[in-house]
Each structure stands twice: as C-alpha cells, then as structure tokens.
C-alpha cells in the first residue's frame, strides 16, 4: 500500500515537472490555450445546435417573434467573418472580410447570417438585419454594444431547451412507471426500485422535519419535482453530450422564482406577521426589522439561484480545464495523471450533482416550513 502511494506521488511529480518544462515545439500551429479557452466558453453558453463531437452538428429550430411567428433552422445560418470599420464618433460598422484582407485580431468579428431570410445571429442574439445594416457603439469601458437593432423575442429550441424537454420526458416515464408498478404489488419493479427510497428520503428526511406533519403533503409534489429535476439535469451535465442546463442562470432563476411564488402564496397570517410587525420586540425595532425582513424574502430565492448556478458552472469549468490540460501533456506520465485527476474530479462532481439537488430541495422545504409555521407563544 505504501509503495503504491509513493509510486503515485512519483508519477504525479514527474507529470507536473514534465508540463512545467515542456517546450512549445510547433509555433505555427493553432494557439492551444486560446482554443481550450474558447471551447470552455462555448460549453458554458447555450447554443443553436447540438454538437456531439467535432464535425457532427445537429441543427435545431430557431423560432422568433417578429410581427408574427417565424420558423427557421439553424442550418440556414452560415458564418460570416467581418471586419470592423470605426468612424470618428466611436460608432462601428461591419464589412465582409475577404480572403485577402489582413486586419488586426481585435478588429475581426463574426456573425451567423441566414441565407434565405433577413436574420443574423450576433453573439448569441438574433437580430433582423444583415451585417451591412448594423451599427455598434464603442463604450468607454472598451465593450461594443449594438445600437441600431434590438434583439427579437427569441423562442428558439436551443440545446438547453431541447435537453430540458428530454429530461422532463424521461422523468415523466420513470415516475409514471413507478406509480403504475404499485398496482401490481407493494414492491416497485425495475427503475422504480431506485426511485422509491429517494422519494421516501425526500418525504421523511426533508419534508416532514422542515414543514411539519400537518402541511407537508401540499408541498411534496413540488419538492419531489424540483429534487429529481435538478438531480437528473446535473447528472446529464456529466455525460459527454456537452450540456449545461443548471449552469444556465435562466433555469435556476425560474426554479427559484417558483419557490418564491409558492412560499408567498401559501404563507399564513403568522408568516406575514413576522415580516411586517415582528412580535415580541419594541416598536422602533419593528420599524427597523420591516425592510430587512422584506428584503430577506427576496434574498432567500436569490441565493438559491446563485448557489446552484455557481456550483454547477464552477464544476464544469474545473472539469473542462483539466480535460484541456491533457492537451498540454508532453509524455505519457502527464497524460495519465491528468486523466486520473479528471476522473477523480468527475466522481466528485457526481456527488456535487446530488448534493446541490439536496440543498436546493432542503432550503426550499425550510422556506415552506417558515411560511406555514403555526403561532408559538415563546416568540
């Protein structure tokens, strides 16, 4: 055992050393750090296509509201490289980059234009204009902002939307299967055997202790939905499909918003009493506590949103960076250790996937519990 550990330590040191002293040999090739960076950036963002591996892109429908609903396919959109032409009043227009042009890297940009209609995708936003009609403004902080056209209302089935739908269907079939199997006997069969203990875990360890025996049944459906949705989605993020659903702040925002609305609309008199007129403290203190408590109702779901989003995003970034490190390995030792490290962190991420679903459900149950708590005399 000890020999094994020292051998592993030796391998690890060798690997680190070989990376630190590896010399870049082929400089005319593409910039690997830049490539890895842009890969991670693209992974974290939503996309209008599904890419399983390099070269295998599946187009997804793009649906926009532009005085009536318009259906397009993302395969209609082709990449157009443009160069920026800056004028004196810090506005920028685009001109198509031809093969003979040589411009500085920061003056280059690209967008995707539809060949059949008048739409373009500019950094993820759909705009009803081609590159020639666009005008950008250079802000004092160095960022460029599109001023001539605003983005349309976008209902596209993006990668995240598609995967969310697929996971909802999977959950639907898993749980209808579980409920149907109870008609045959008390013991579920198949996949339901895995789900039943988790359902009981949510009920006995999360809902009943936090909400109380009297009210917990009203909230069980939401708690179960949110737990299994977040858990399955987090697990799907660990597959090589390259999806990142809970690392999308819009998804966590919606989940936290539903929690917030349910808390506010099912709260009893006692809950509002504690917010607006805290019992048992002197009147000046009541006035001080009122804004704090009101703010607290918003901060709670906000922290739910940020926690899930940040944890999953951070996990994905770390994993992808480690996978990226593999390409810098100059020998087999380095390659092997980075692979091992990636595997190790991947297993940790599986734990985080469960833990984040658990924490979200737990805190949601805690907020529900506060909303339906009965009056106590000791307050």
């Amino acid at each position: 055992m000890r020999r094994k550990i020292s051998l592993l330590a030796l391998l690890f040191t060798l690997a680190i050393g070989s990376v630190a002293f590896a010399e870049p040999d082929n400089k005319d090739k593409q910039d690997t750090p830049e490539e890895v960076k842009s890969f991670i950036k693209h992974h974290l963002k939503d996309a209008h296509y599904l890419e399983l591996f390099h070269g295998a892109k599946m187009p997804l429908p793009i649906i926009v509201w532009d005085d009536g609903i318009k259906f397009l396919m993302s395969s209609d959109f082709k990449k157009v490289e443009v160069k920026e032409i800056a004028s004196a009043d810090s506005t920028i227009t685009f001109e198509r980059l031809s093969a003979t042009d040589s411009v500085a890297k920061d003056a280059k940009d690209y967008l995707y234009e539809s060949m059949s209609s008048e739409y373009a995708i500019f950094h993820g936003k759909i705009i009803a204009a081609k590159h020639g009609d666009m005008q950008l403004k250079l802000r004092p902080n160095g960022k460029k902002k599109l001023t001539s056209h605003s983005a349309l209302i976008d209902f596209s089935i993006t990668k995240t939307v598609l995967m969310t739908m697929l996971i909802c269907i999977l959950l639907f079939f898993a749980f209808t299967g579980l409920s149907k199997s109870y008609s045959k006997g008390p013991i579920p069969s198949g996949f339901g055997r895995l789900l039943e203990p988790l359902v009981l875990f949510i009920r006995d360890d999360i809902a009943i202790p936090n909400i109380g025996k009297k009210h917990y049944k009203r909230y069980m459906s939401y708690l179960l939905t949110v737990f299994f949705f977040i858990w399955f989605v987090n697990l799907a993020g660990m597959t090589p499909l390259g999806i990142n659903i809970t690392g999308n702040i819009a998804i966590t925002l919606s989940l936290a918003l539903i929690t917030y609305l349910i808390t506010q609309f099912t709260a009893n008199k006692n809950y509002w009493g504690h917010i607006f007129w805290m019992p048992g403290v002197p009147v000046p203190m009541k006035l001080v506590l009122l804004p704090i408590e009101l703010l607290g109702t918003i901060i709670k779901p906000f922290s739910l949103m940020i926690r899930l989003y940040a944890n999953i995003t951070a996990g994905h970034v770390v994993l992808m960076s480690l996978i990226g490190l593999v390409f810098f390995a100059s020998n087999l030792f380095a390659f092997g250790s980075f692979f091992g490290l990636t595997l190790f962190l991947g297993v940790i991420e599986l734990l985080v996937a469960f833990l984040q679903a658990y924490i979200f459900t737990m805190l949601t149950a805690l907020y529900f519990g506060a909303a339906v708590e009965e009056h106590h005399d000791e307050h």
Partner: protein, 63 residues
C-alpha cells in the same frame, strides 16, 4: 480581471473557507460526542454550509 478583483476574490475564498471549516469541525466534534444524532447534525451542518457558500458566491460575482 484587475488586481483588486483578484485580491477580493481571494479574501472571499479565505472567509468562506474559514466559515465552512469551522462548521465542519464543530459538526465533527458534535458527532464524536453524540454519534446517535449524526443525521440531524449533518443536516444542520449542510444547511449552514450552504448558506455561507451562497454568500461567498454572491460576493464572488460582485468581485
């Protein structure tokens, strides 16, 4: 990222780490003293750690 941002992020990480470490250590002590209450202590520990983590992330986003 500028240098103040990086220093701020470092301070946040130190603070959150100390906080979560304190919670974890105290929970370990409590579990050692009362092993029969392990599940209750764990639940309370995870909630407290999650709250600190939330504040840490919010501050990291601000930094």
């Amino acid at each position: 990222m500028t240098i103040p941002n990086i220093v701020g992020a470092g301070l946040i990480v130190i603070g959150a780490g100390l906080g979560i470490g304190k919670i974890g250590g105290s929970a370990m002590d409590a579990i050692a003293r009362q092993p029969e209450a392990t599940s209750k202590i764990q639940t309370a520990m995870i909630i407290a750690a999650a709250l600190i983590e939330g504040i840490g992330f919010a501050a990291l986003f601000a930094a």
